[in-house]
């Protein structure tokens, strides 16, 4: 009986937390992830700049990092080479 009550109270608390998260936290975490995404692209630029024809030191060690960024390479290139225009403001 007591257990049931406890879990009920627990799920109520969880629900409240979720609502609170939706109200305040969600935007913040989205912002944090977005910032991280931008930094990821910056990171790839300074390590893999050669891919765009911008040689940035030093190639020997950037090769070590290459395997980890393989999946991001294509989206990164698109982002870096994309022309800025009006639709950017809408995005």
């Amino acid at each position: 009986m007591a257990d049931e009550e406890k879990s009920k109270r627990g799920s109520l608390l969880d629900g409240a937390k979720s609502v609170l998260y939706g109200m305040a936290g969600h935007d913040m975490s989205r912002y944090a992830l977005k910032t991280r995404g931008s930094m990821e692209h910056l990171f790839i630029l300074i390590t893999m700049g050669d891919l765009l024809g911008i040689p940035i030191l030093p190639p020997y060690y950037s090769l070590r990092i290459l395997p980890y960024v393989v999946p991001q390479i294509s989206t990164w290139k698109r982002r870096m080479l994309r022309e800025r225009d009006l639709t950017d403001a809408l995005a």
Binding site: R30, A32, L33, R36, M39, L42, D50, P67, V70, I73
Partner: protein, 324 residues
């Protein structure tokens, strides 16, 4: 102070380097020092960081790209084949990519990048740099003798270490900051753990290796750096300039060795005018050396009557350098 004494009094100095302009005798001194130490029961590796290495020539044995080759008991020599190392390294990277993503072919774009990176001029130096780290961390020998590249390259090599170090510091910082943002998001979303950042780990590994190598070059306790100079004006000027630059990178300078001194006793003999002129010129330059480098000069090595190749001549050279 004599050379032999330096080695006896500073037994902690296990990384020995000879630097100087090209063609003054760095390889010769490296080989002779290795020979002398090996004869005294020390296990020695002499290795070359020069893409155009000449250890094979001086030992009259092809050792290029063959790893550490035993020349005589206790004496090992190694010439790093940078091209080979780069090829193996590229293959390793390809293997890792295929393995991580379960591909059976490296995507074209990535493959192009791997090939383009290998063609960069800095690649060869970096590969050698990395190979040297492998050698010195192995700790298989009592003494490591670096047959260094000519001065300009050696300076480049040193400055590369500090540039690398700063570069890695910067991007490690960026990576750490990225990690913080991930964690913020994870906390907000109440995830228990974030994935460990494999790239950050890789960066720290790279940093450690670079520090290891440049750390040895500037270690006052374990490293002895000797400058080779000859009694000629250009060589003296260049050496002084280089010594200043090396000091800037805080490379501990142990002393100078003056090579190719024409024996002065020749002056008493019947010699052609040409040689007499050279002797007079040499006298002036030796005085300059004496005045400016003075007590830092550890040995004066006479010009030999023939090329120094093969163990017989190396032994003779070792005798000139260390006596007994």
């Amino acid at each position: 102070l004599s050379l032999a004494k330096i080695f006896e009094e500073q037994p902690d100095r296990r990384y020995i380097m000879f630097g100087g302009k090209g063609g003054l005798g760095k390889t010769t001194f490296s080989a002779a020092t290795a020979y002398w130490l090996a004869k005294h029961g020390q296990k020695v590796l002499v290795f070359s960081v020069d893409p155009q290495a000449s250890l094979s020539d001086i030992f009259q044995q092809d050792i290029f790209g063959k790893g550490a080759v035993e020349i005589m008991p206790n004496l090992y020599a190694q010439e790093i084949d940078a091209d080979q190392r780069i090829k193996e390294y590229q293959q390793e990277i390809r293997g890792k990519i295929l393995d991580m993503y379960g591909l059976d072919q490296v995507p074209e774009e990535i493959e192009n990048y791997i090939q383009a990176a290998a063609a960069e001029p800095a690649m060869e130096e970096s590969a050698i740099f990395d190979a040297v780290v492998d050698i010195v961390v192995s700790a298989d020998y009592d003494y490591y003798i670096y047959d260094l590249v000519p001065l300009g390259h050696a300076l480049y090599y040193l400055s590369m270490a500090s540039v690398y170090d700063q570069w890695i510091d910067k991007i490690t910082g960026l990576r750490t900051e990225m990690e913080e943002y991930s964690q913020v998001a994870a906390v907000m979303q109440r995830k228990k753990e974030t994935e460990e950042d494999a790239i950050l780990r890789e960066l720290q590994f790279i940093k450690e290796r670079i520090n290891k190598s440049s750390g040895i070059l500037t270690d006052r306790v374990r490293t002895a750096f000797f400058f080779v100079v000859i009694p000629e004006e250009m060589a003296i000027l260049d050496t002084k300039k280089a010594a200043g630059l090396f000091a800037k990178y805080s490379v501990p300078l142990s002393g100078y060795i003056v090579n190719r001194v024409i024996p002065e006793t020749l002056a008493q003999q019947e010699i052609p005018e040409y040689l007499r002129h050279r002797l007079t010129m040499q006298k002036g330059h030796l005085a300059t050396i004496q005045r400016e480098l003075g007590s830092d000069v550890l040995a004066y090595i006479p010009e030999m009557e023939r090329d120094i190749t093969g163990l017989g001549m190396i032994e003779k050279m070792a005798h000139e350098m260390f006596g007994g």
